[in-house]
């Protein structure tokens, strides 16, 4: 120690031992601080990723957010299909303490047997559904049972508030919200929306705190052209006809003449899409079934012949000499005008008109009316019908196609063709979707079918006069002479077709398709209606007696609903469907 150091020590008054202790203490403290700092560095920076992962696993929860399925509305924005949450029971098998006892208790509370529940609870999965979409009282009972590992989740379920109304059109969605038929299937991509995923923090009490994520995009809203009131009128009318005539099935189509928008597509039997699996035997027959429609097709063959100039409405046709022996009429007429051929539904006359017209013009005309191709309506399973190329027709086929044999059409195709006549000869493809909008109201889809002229306006006007004559009364009246549409003057055509038997390869003598196609009111048509009743077996089978009255009920009620003023002086005391005295019309 130097003199200076000894002097300094004396001046500070700190002994040497204390200094050493202070240095040691300082060193220890410094080391401790460095140690703590190092540890803090490790926690915050060095091993940060590892601990962050652990924390996220403990506190973060990730969950999928299901997208609410879009609503389906009718033309007046009344809901036809809507989603609302219901309870579903699920289990976390790892948390179930006594599998057997829990399964037995569940079997008492839920539908299903204990063995099935035991199998589910005994699985190694972290999550299993036990019962989906249960009633509120069932969910309350399960909640009250407080079974470990058993929980209740809310999930959307599809509801159809009008029950079976338009059931085959809407189709239905399965338990997972996927469209399985009808509009639900055809527009599933738009209706389903886009599910989101969210990440939330969970505190010690398990409360979730929203942190981040993508919100679910709700499905689009689909507004149909279908009017639920008109649909109800059509469904009631066709159901009554099928039941009272003991038929296999029936279908009624109502189109807006000006736009060809579908106002009603009624099929019977129908089903309630609220009930899972109920629709197995029912379908939307207006688009899925194609028929040999019989005499209603005379409307089109005659219209095409008139438009081509092959005949005029007053051209006389000798109907006593059929071009082929098997072609015959029910009525015993001798000479009919072309208008009279439709009015009296003469097969001989229709065949002769077609023979004058020729294959290719008739084929081209039928194509213009939309036969042989799908209409493109926004429904699944649409049939195109069968219309072979005119080049391959033999003369006999040309004759039979003129009165509705040798080609098949769907009721929707027939209605669209008739609407074209009512619309002054301009055809529009029928559509059932008015528009599709997203959650913000932006339009995603609006159908805009291109109209095209199928016959001249003058021809259409002549055809309307001819169709009105089908309702003429009296001895020489039309085939719908016993049909009254209370308050309105209508036009139409009856049809009674023998059904082809695929087993015997012959037309059955005792199985018929009864049909009626009409425009109402005929002076300024608002609606086109096609009714088909398949295999009536209650005694009556003529179109004028079976399908005609259905047209009458639909036309009268729908026109009143649409605010079309009725005409005084026309029969208004109800439909005289059962009093047809001369039902032999085809």
């Amino acid at each position: 120690m130097t003199e200076a150091q000894i002097g300094a020590q004396r001046a500070s008054g700190i002994p040497r031992a204390a200094k050493i202790r202070a240095i040691i203490a300082g060193a220890v403290l410094s080391l401790a601080i460095v140690g703590v700092g190092y540890r803090a560095w490790l926690l915050q920076i060095g091993d940060a990723e590892h601990y962050r992962t652990l924390a996220e696993r403990q506190h973060e929860i990730r969950f999928a957010i299901p997208a609410p399925r879009g609503d389906i509305l009718d033309a007046n924005r009344q809901p036809l299909a809507i989603s609302a949450d219901v309870d579903s029971i699920w289990a976390s098998p790892r948390e179930v303490r006594d599998v057997t006892a829990t399964a037995e208790r569940l079997a008492q509370l839920l539908p299903g047997d204990a063995a099935a529940y035991e199998a589910k609870l005994g699985s190694s999965h972290r999550f299993v559904w036990l019962a989906r979409h249960v009633a509120p009282d069932v969910a309350a009972a399960v909640r009250a049972a407080k079974l470990p590992g058993i929980d209740i989740a809310r999930e959307p379920r599809r509801w159809y508030p009008a029950r079976s109304l338009a059931g085959p059109v809407l189709g239905g969605a399965d338990v997972d919200g996927r469209g399985i038929d009808g509009v639900e299937k055809a527009l599933d991509v738009l209706l389903a929306g886009k599910g989101g995923e969210a990440t939330a923090l969970r505190d010690a009490r398990g409360h979730a705190m929203f942190e981040d994520g993508s919100r679910a995009e709700p499905g689009a809203t689909v507004q149909l052209t279908l009017d639920r009131t008109i649909e109800a009128i059509a469904e009631d009318a066709i159901a009554d006809a099928v039941v009272s005539h003991q038929a296999r099935s029936g279908v009624a189509v109502v189109l807006d003449v000006a736009t060809s928008q579908v106002l009603a597509l009624a099929s019977y039997p129908t089903f309630d899409p609220n009930t899972a699996g109920a629709g197995s035997s029912a379908r939307d027959r207006a688009v899925t079934d194609a028929y040999e429609a019989g005499s209603v097709m005379k409307v089109f063959s005659v219209a095409i012949a008139l438009d081509a100039g092959a005949v005029t409405a007053d051209t006389p046709i000798d109907v006593t000499t059929p071009p082929y022996r098997f072609i015959h009429d029910v009525e015993h007429d001798t000479v009919l005008t072309v208008g009279g051929v439709v009015k009296r539904s003469s097969n001989v006359g229709a065949a002769k008109i077609a023979l004058r017209l020729g294959r290719l013009p008739l084929y081209a005309g039928l194509q213009r009316f939309g036969f042989g191709t799908r209409t493109g309506i926004e429904l699944p399973g649409e049939q195109s019908g069968m219309l072979r190329s005119g080049k391959t027709w033999r003369e006999i086929e040309l004759a039979t196609i003129a009165y509705g044999y040798g080609l098949t059409v769907t009721p929707l195709q027939a209605a669209a063709g008739l609407a074209a006549i009512g619309n002054g000869g301009v055809y529009r493809s029928p559509r059932i979707v008015a528009r599709v909008t997203d959650a913000s109201g932006a339009t995603l889809y609006t159908p805009a079918p291109e109209p095209h002229r199928v016959i001249a306006a003058e021809t259409a006007a002549v055809m309307k006069t001819i169709l009105a004559s089908v309702f003429d009364k009296g001895r020489d009246g039309g085939t719908a002479k016993d049909l009254d549409v209370p308050g309105f003057r209508c036009g139409g055509k009856t049809g009674t077709a023998h059904k082809y038997d695929p087993v015997t390869h012959q037309y059955a003598n005792d199985r018929y398709l009864s049909s009626f196609a009409g425009l109402a009111p005929i002076d300024a048509p608002r609606i086109a209606v096609v009714v088909m009743v398949d295999e009536p077996s209650g005694g009556d089978y003529y179109g004028g007696k079976v399908a005609g009255p259905v047209f009458g009920v639909i036309a009268s009620q729908v026109l009143r609903y649409l605010g079309v003023p009725g005409q005084s002086g026309l029969q208004a005391s109800g439909l005289q469907a059962g009093s047809a005295s001369h039902p032999e019309a085809h």
Partner: protein, 122 residues
């Protein structure tokens, strides 16, 4: 050792030591204040997170209520139910020739507006 030497200065050097100590204390206070502010901020974020989650749940619940009400209204106004009720009440369809469609005249529609002084000058 340097720290010891620093603190072991003679009384004549005391002023500079106090300044350094005061600076250190001020820095420590500032650090504590910043820490408190950060904790407060984190707490506020947490609270807002809870509120967002709560409001989101409330919004979802209200949407669900609305959907249920829409569903209920649609079920109650279903055509077959209305028809059944109407039939029970003895109502029937009116014959078409007994329906008179009354269209509102422009004069009648202008009356309420005129009465309220809202008639547009043309």
């Amino acid at each position: 050792v340097q720290l010891y030497r620093l603190l072991a200065r003679r009384s004549s050097d005391a002023a500079s030591v106090r300044a350094i100590a005061a600076t250190l204390v001020a820095v420590a206070c500032l650090a504590v204040a910043l820490g408190v502010l950060r904790v407060e901020h984190e707490h506020e974020v947490l609270q807002l997170g809870y509120r967002i989650a709560h409001e989101q749940a409330r919004l979802d619940a209200l949407h669900e209520v609305r959907r249920r009400l829409d569903l209920e209204r649609a079920a109650l106004t279903a055509p077959d139910r209305i028809r059944r009720l109407a039939t029970e009440l003895g109502m029937t369809s009116v014959a078409p020739d007994r329906i008179r469609i009354v269209r509102r005249s422009p004069l009648a529609s202008a009356e309420p507006a005129r009465a309220s002084g809202l008639t547009e000058q043309r």
